[in-house]
């Protein structure tokens, strides 16, 4: 692939990405912008693969396009049923037409100036060779990290603290959703053909999730991509009209939701007790500890994303506090 044809490919890809982004944001009809946004996510996954980031491409396709799209489409589903709809949340202030065009132009100019500034600063940065200090440090310490895939090593070992807080962010989001009220009404049971697809697709998705989790140690994959695939299986079951979708009852659902952060803390405290640094896995045990944490994280991520799609506690289940 000589460089010119590669350049043409990049040009086409980037033009389609930017135009998809523009179309998604500029279209008035909510349904159109959501569909265009999902297309934008998928083409973006292609761009990440082009930039030699397969882990990120998997996550972008599964979470960025797939699950975000499912959440947005579910929001549209409510939008059609409720009169108020997801339309304008802030009150329409009756500024005169002249003023809105002035605001519109000044914001556009501001953003254009930001783009030019960012571009100019980045051109300035790319003049001198890239600073590889961190990349070299990761490469040198890779064999100590217990996994051979550098991205998983950074996520689960060198910067494991980031991933711990990120799982806490997921937990906060789902607790916020539960606090907001009961779940959405379920979908009506699936017809013959969709039921056939579900009966075949869901086991394959679960198998793929397990494979992604296992392969994450030495090839692109890992807890996030596996969790998203498992969540996709839950979403398909939910769309097929099965209300319980394999989500356990309230108490065990909370345990699964808290599993990711919980396992991280257990390992961290255990290592602290044995005098090592928090999340400083002993090199001999690192691989298995990472797999243990990733399994719990996968389950937590899948349960969180499906609960977000369901929109609350599954109906048959409510928190049993005695009020």
């Amino acid at each position: 692939m000589n460089s010119t044809s590669l350049l043409v490919f990049d040009g086409l890809l980037l033009v389609s990405i930017v135009s998809l982004a523009w179309a998604a944001l500029a279209s008035i009809d909510a349904r159109r912008s959501v569909i265009l946004f999902m297309a934008f996510g998928l083409v973006l996954a292609l761009a990440w693969a082009r930039l030699r980031a397969p882990d990120v491409a998997l996550a972008e396709a599964a979470i960025g396009a797939g699950l975000s799209g499912a959440l947005l489409l579910a929001a549209l589903h409510d939008h059609d049923r409720t009169a108020a709809g997801v339309g304008s949340s802030s009150t329409q202030n009756q500024t005169s037409a002249g003023l809105t065009t002035v605001i519109r132009w000044s914001v556009t100019l501001l953003c254009a100036a930001l783009a030019v500034g960012l571009g100019w600063a980045l051109v300035h940065v790319f003049d001198h060779p890239a600073n590889d200090a961190l990349a070299r440090a990761v490469a040198e310490n890779l064999d100590l990290s217990g996994v051979s895939n550098p991205v998983t090593a950074v996520l689960l070992n060198f910067r494991a603290y980031d991933t711990l807080l990120e799982l806490a962010v997921l937990l906060t989001a789902v607790l916020g959703i539960f606090a907001l009220g009961p779940a959405r009404a379920g979908y009506q049971p699936a017809g013959l053909i969709f039921d056939g697809l579900t009966r075949w697709l869901v086991p394959v998705l679960i198998l793929t999730a397990a494979y992604l989790l296992w392969v994450g140690a030495h090839a692109p994959g890992g807890a996030f991509q596996a969790g998203a695939t498992l969540a996709a299986a839950g979403v398909v079951l939910r769309l097929a009209g099965r209300h319980q979708i394999g989500l356990p009852a309230a108490r065990t659902l909370h345990i699964v939701l808290a599993a990711g952060v919980g396992m991280f803390l257990l390992v961290g405290f255990a290592l602290l007790a044995t005098g090592r640094a928090f999340l400083g896995y002993p090199p001999a045990w690192a691989g298995s500890l990472i797999l243990l944490i990733e399994t719990a994280a996968m389950l937590a991520i899948a349960a969180t994303l499906v609960s977000a799609f369901v929109g609350g506690q599954p109906e048959s289940v409510t928190i049993d506090n005695e009020e």
Partner: protein, 95 residues
């Protein structure tokens, strides 16, 4: 190699500007949630362009981990925003 890295970084800047413009201008909630997600994708493109070291050389894994974390954080924020919107729509229906 430099042109690929620069090409992706510059289009990342354009996407960030697009997202910011739409987030500031549009008042409908769905468009603002999409705008913030698009802006995030723009920043991720800049990060991955910075990590790119050419077709043969392995890229820098640290920005990849950052972008992975960013994607998961973005989807959890989107989920909470849509849940709030649903509750708001339900409340406005009752009265």
């Amino acid at each position: 190699m430099l042109t690929t890295q620069l090409l992706y970084a510059l289009s990342g800047c354009v996407i960030v500007a697009l997202g910011l413009r739409s987030a500031l201008l549009h008042s409908s909630l769905l468009q603002r949630v999409l705008a913030i997600n698009v802006m995030g994708s723009g920043v991720f493109m800049i990060l991955l362009a910075v990590a790119y070291r050419g077709a043969e050389v392995a890229p820098d894994p640290v920005p990849h981990a950052l972008v992975l974390t960013g994607i998961v954080v973005a989807v959890s924020a989107t989920a909470l925003a849509l849940a709030l919107a649903r509750r708001l729509a339900a409340e406005q229906d009752d009265d």
